[in-house]
């Protein structure tokens, strides 16, 4: 359904407690609160006591799971108004993380992707991280011409806020940039745009 045809798009997991973990860090955003709650529900008290939760209430679809998250007895809970601040918060948490730390990410693709950039910068391997997508499949798009990142892109063709070119979103995803690729849509003949469409519907 969501992954069809895009071979470079990440394949997501289901969040479930990793028994090998000595410390757990769970970062979620908006609708990602739902998988997070499921994860916390599956943890035993020892795991919960070793779990740091980061939650951003920024949401494209308006879902906020904070009240339910607060009911779980975790080691610490940090709440952020925006995804960007949550990712910076994750950076600060991982900066002090030790061997045996396991990371759980859930939310939009842009949030998971940018959080994954942070995890990679600390040398975390794929087998130490679980990622579960939740909510809308809006895309984060990198403009190949000016380098601008656009969040929450929903249309095949859109105007880049960085360079004002019309971009077409290619079905090609870069984990390193945590973004899809946007290239000039009317590159060959100005004004001759490809057909616009809703993405991932």
């Amino acid at each position: 359904m969501l992954i069809t045809g895009i071979k470079s798009r990440p394949v997501y997991d289901e969040l479930t407690p990793m028994a090998s973990g000595l410390r757990h860090v769970a970062a979620a955003q908006g609708s990602g609160g739902e998988p997070l709650l499921r994860l916390l529900g599956e943890m035993d008290p020892v795991q919960l006591a070793a779990t740091t939760v980061l939650y951003s209430i920024e949401s494209f679809t308006g879902r906020n799971h904070l009240a339910h998250i607060k009911k779980h007895q975790v080691r610490e809970l940090f709440v952020f108004p925006t995804n960007a601040e949550a990712v910076r918060g994750l950076d600060a948490v991982l900066a002090t993380a030790q061997m045996g730390t396991r990371l759980y990410l859930s939310g939009s693709e842009g949030f998971i992707g940018t959080s994954m950039q942070v995890a990679t910068s600390y040398g975390m391997n794929r087998d130490e991280v679980l990622r579960e997508h939740a909510g809308s499949f809006v895309r984060r798009v990198w403009c190949a011409h000016c380098g601008h990142y656009s969040e929450n892109v929903t249309r095949r063709v859109f105007q880049c806020p960085g360079c004002e070119r019309n971009l077409v979103v290619r079905d090609h995803y870069s984990g390193r940039l945590a973004a899809f690729q946007g290239v000039k849509a009317d590159g060959e003949v100005p004004g001759e745009l490809p057909e616009d469409e809703e993405l991932d519907t």
């Binding site: 190949a144 011409h145 079905d171 090609h172 984990g175 940039l177 690729q181």
Partner: protein
């Protein structure tokens, strides 16, 4: 500093950019030595890997081929790196060992295959590298990056024709770890860096369906040092433009709309990619070089008429999806129409030209 003696047999005053007015042409010899990539009248996408052993007396007689465009291509690379820093050369931090491997492979190959131009002298780890074509005479300590003015891979590939992508093995796949790609055909190194084999092949149509990708990956993961393999690939490019990256697409894509059946011979260039893959001995990384050759359709007709006929037939029967992927959908018909005037329909040999029975350039 001593003056660089002018090398003979190399075109120095040559450009690959609109600012330089695309001053580029091939001699008859340069055309007839090309690794011509069409063994049959009908083109089929395939991995077509074969052992990279010297063959014929053309582009496949050396491990890393150089030709009359060597000096101008190195100058173009330097200009592209200067104009867009951080776009054309990138390396992930842990790739240093592979970088030294690659430097050694390129320099040893050039030293062995073109001793009149290059000399590598080793005294333990103290190496001296002489490149008489570019007037370089440097000494450095192999393995010690502080003794070079830049990354070992950047240093070596600034002096090499073709682009170079280094792939590292990780979790049973190959991941792009570094690249020197000033001659990219419509992709972005910044974007693709860190991608695995199936991810960076994602946009190629039909590949997966044909099961080609899995087989190719399995084959590459079994490669052995000292046993390189090669394949050839091709596309079309308007004007002799080497740098056709995604980043600069707004600069070059409009040229695609300027091609007509009248000017296709001059404007449309066959872009041949010779890809000799090597497993690097210390790092276990694989280097994927793309040695790019540009030749206009008119040059093919003039110097290699049988190859021009073959290109006509291969393009005329080409699948639309592939033409679209290769980016010449808009002028595909114009190129075919122009070439049709130069194809009498005579039967042509099959097989690559570096094999004795393969298709030869023909005589005009």
């Amino acid at each position: 500093m001593p003056a660089i003696p002018t090398p003979t047999g190399f075109t120095l005053d040559e450009t690959y950019t609109p600012e330089g007015e695309y001053r580029f042409k091939n001699s008859r010899e340069a055309v007839r030595r090309l690794p011509f990539p069409f063994p049959d009248d009908e083109y089929m996408y395939s991995m077509n890997l074969e052992p990279h052993v010297p063959a014929g007396d053309g582009a496949l007689s050396a491990a890393f081929d150089i030709d009359e465009h060597y000096v101008s291509e190195c100058a173009h690379r330097a200009q592209m790196l200067r104009d867009m820093p951080g776009v054309h050369y990138l390396a992930l931090p842990h790739m240093l060992e592979a970088q030294w491997d690659l430097l050694e492979l390129i320099f040893e190959s050039y030293n062995r295959d073109f001793p009149e131009h290059f000399t590598l002298t080793k005294n333990g780890n103290e190496w001296r590298w002489q490149n008489r074509l570019l007037g370089i005479d440097d000494s450095f300590t192999f393995g010690d990056p502080a003794t070079l003015p830049m990354d070992p891979m950047e240093y070596a590939t600034r002096q090499a024709q073709g682009e170079f992508v280094v792939l590292e093995e990780r979790d049973n796949t190959l991941v792009i770890g570094a690249g020197m790609t000033t001659q990219r055909a419509d992709y972005s190194l910044q974007f693709n860096l860190g991608m695995n084999f199936s991810e960076f092949h994602g946009p190629v149509p039909k590949l997966d369906k044909l099961g080609i990708l899995d087989r190719a990956l399995k084959f590459l993961l079994r490669m052995k040092p000292g046993h390189p393999v090669r394949r050839v690939n091709w596309s079309l490019t308007v004007n002799p433009r080497l740098e056709t990256s995604v980043e600069t697409l707004p600069d070059w894509a409009p040229d695609r709309a300027k091609v007509t059946a009248e000017n296709a011979g001059e404007m449309v260039h066959l872009r041949i990619e010779l890809q000799p893959l090597h497993l690097l001995p210390r790092s276990n990384a694989i280097v994927f070089p793309v040695r790019t050759y540009l030749v206009s359709l008119a040059e093919l007709v003039e110097h290699a008429p049988d190859w021009a006929k073959r290109v006509h037939r291969a393009l005329a029967s080409l699948d639309h999806e592939l033409a679209d992927y290769k980016g010449f959908h808009r002028y595909h018909a114009a190129a075919v129409e122009w070439l049709s005037q130069h194809d009498d329909g005579a039967p042509l040999a099959t097989g690559y030209p570096w094999y004795p029975d393969g298709i030869q350039p023909g005589n005009s």
